[in-house]
Amino acid sequence: MTSMNRRTFGKLALGTASLLAAPTILTRNAWAQGKEIQVGIWGGAQGEYVRSSIVPQFEADFGCTVITEEGFTLANVEKMRATRSNPQFSVMFIDDVAIPIARDEGLIAELPLDQMPASEMLFDRFNFGGYGTGLAISVASLFHNTSVTPPDSYGDLWDPKWAGKIKLVSPKNTPSVFFLIVAAALKTGKPFSEAQYEIGNAFDKVAELKPNVLNIFDNGPVAVGEVAQGQADIGFLELSKYVYPYTAQGAPVTMSFPKEGSFAGNNSQVLVKDGPNQDLAVAFMNRMLESDVQKAFSEFALTAPPVAGIEFSEEASKYMVYPDTAMDSAGLFTPDWEFVNANRAAWTEELNGIFSV
């Protein structure tokens, strides 16, 4: 007899509950029979779970077809732009950073939350102005080889003892914005919420880190694997959803949370403006927020749900900051993305100038 792991259990629980409710659901959802929607999802563990567990159950419940297409935030936004005249997607998964951009370009529609009963449990902070909801919350912070004692403060990473031992996140990746906020906070002595507006004056602080940087990484899971193998001592910085799957499998790598605080990585969903079968799209988005789906999804991907009222096992709780009060206690910070988006191109250019060979 083999032991059942948390992922298998999650899928089994979700499947059993849905099977018992099947006859009622099929009658109630007759309106959706034969309809089809295309959903742009993420890659990685989250995408795998959506594709292999959530979508098949949703298709069975609604008698519909959901075509998934894996991508990442910037590519998904570009797909919405490219198909704007004749939208192919109905729902798109993107990070919260891109929601203001997509909204301002008219790529996404305001959510009919009154048709999404599961959104009643949504924490206010993950209702992004009515144009998207959170789906999975990760923590962005330092990750390190377990043979290394991590610093208590981000400022310690500028110490020469870390020379050539740090892997720094690429300007291409969203966590690089978090790195810039850290640098600005260290230079100004201000909290993240104020320091984010002073990034433009903090690039001298950024440049001072250069001797300690071994290399720049743009693939989180690969970087985590390299730190686990001891190729670098510490990673500055990455989302927990890329780190904790390694930790949970016994790899010698984990996360640490310096005293200045950490950052929230908010994976979100949006409704594509004028996308096909909007009613079915809204039903799918609602399904993504339902408690049993969110519980299984979170335990699979080791992320925190954006909805209240979910109980997790002690093992799963180790890897997530939940509920919202715990996020506040942990000092999880979400940047002002509108300000960030307006300045990011210039910051990226500065970063490239500093770290290019």
């Binding site: 075509i67 297409e69 590519a75 570009e78 985590v224």
Partner: protein, 265 residues
């Protein structure tokens, strides 16, 4: 040149060069046997379970078979378009010939990621919903330059005197084509087909824009696996792809009787 005239220093240099080329391929092949739940080098322990997981995993199988199907269809399409185009470009002088050559070779010059998003935009504007058709067209576009270049080179080298002689001796056009022209251009067409197949099979940037969950080529699957997998499955599937490429080379040499060195030239 025979082995006897190759000096020892040259042999050593060639050996070193081969090592430099092959060594990076050996790393994932060795990692694939590591008995650890995450990628590590040098490998620790020995297991074949990652190969078992990949070979019997339905997603990997589906993606691999779909990539074979896609590469085959894209190659056929590129050959159907590229061979007549190459023949016409070599044998006829007409207005706009240079522009057509430039247009056909442009997918090699323009970044593929740009070509991919442009194709997505075009298909969306036209309302073409069939993903397989979109992918075949997209891949054929990027494969076409390889077919045109190699087939053009073959047609340039065709001895026209032989064709004239055959015609004078009474051979009908289809006999001239099959008995005189075909043997001379066959290596070029086969080289174009091989390059086309490999380019399509390896393509990521075009597929990234045009694929969906039902049509998911192996490079996208590998990329996804790299994002989510922390175990040596990715090394196992990389090993299988490398072995597949080697098998392809052997098949071409043994079945078609054309050496890779000849294809390359």
């Amino acid at each position: 040149m025979t082995d006897s005239v190759i000096s020892l220093p040259i042999r050593i240099l060639v050996l070193l060069l081969l090592l430099v080329i092959v060594a990076p391929l050996a790393v994932p092949m060795l990692m694939a046997f590591s008995d650890t739940p995450f990628l590590t080098f040098p490998p620790q322990g020995f297991t074949l379970r990652w190969f078992e997981r990949v070979l019997f995993g339905p997603e990997a199988q589906t993606s691999f078979l779909f990539s074979l199907q896609l590469a085959f269809l894209a190659t056929i399409t590129a050959l159907l378009l590229g061979v007549p185009a190459a023949a016409a470009l070599v044998r006829y002088e007409f207005r706009g010939r240079s522009a057509i050559i430039g247009l056909m070779l442009s997918p090699v010059i323009v970044p593929l990621i740009v070509t991919g998003v442009a194709l997505l935009q075009m298909f969306s504007s036209l309302g073409w919903g069939d993903t397989l058709t979109q992918l075949v067209i997209g891949h054929a576009v990027v494969c076409l330059p390889y077919v045109v270049r190699s087939v053009t080179a073959s047609f340039v080298l065709v001895n026209r005197d032989l064709e004239d002689a055959a015609a004078v001796m009474g051979a009908p056009p289809h006999k001239v084509l099959t008995k005189i022209v075909w043997p001379q251009v066959r290596p070029g067409i086969l080289a174009g087909a091989v390059f086309s197949f490999v380019v399509s099979f390896d393509d990521y940037p075009i597929s990234m824009w045009l694929a969906d969950g039902r049509h998911f080529p192996i490079p996208l699957y590998l990329h996804g696996l790299l994002e989510r997998s922390i175990d040596p499955s990715i090394a196992a599937i990389s090993t299988l792809v490398i072995l597949f490429a080697l098998l392809l080379v052997v098949v071409i040499e043994k079945v078609f009787g054309i050496s890779i060195a000849r294809l390359a030239t």
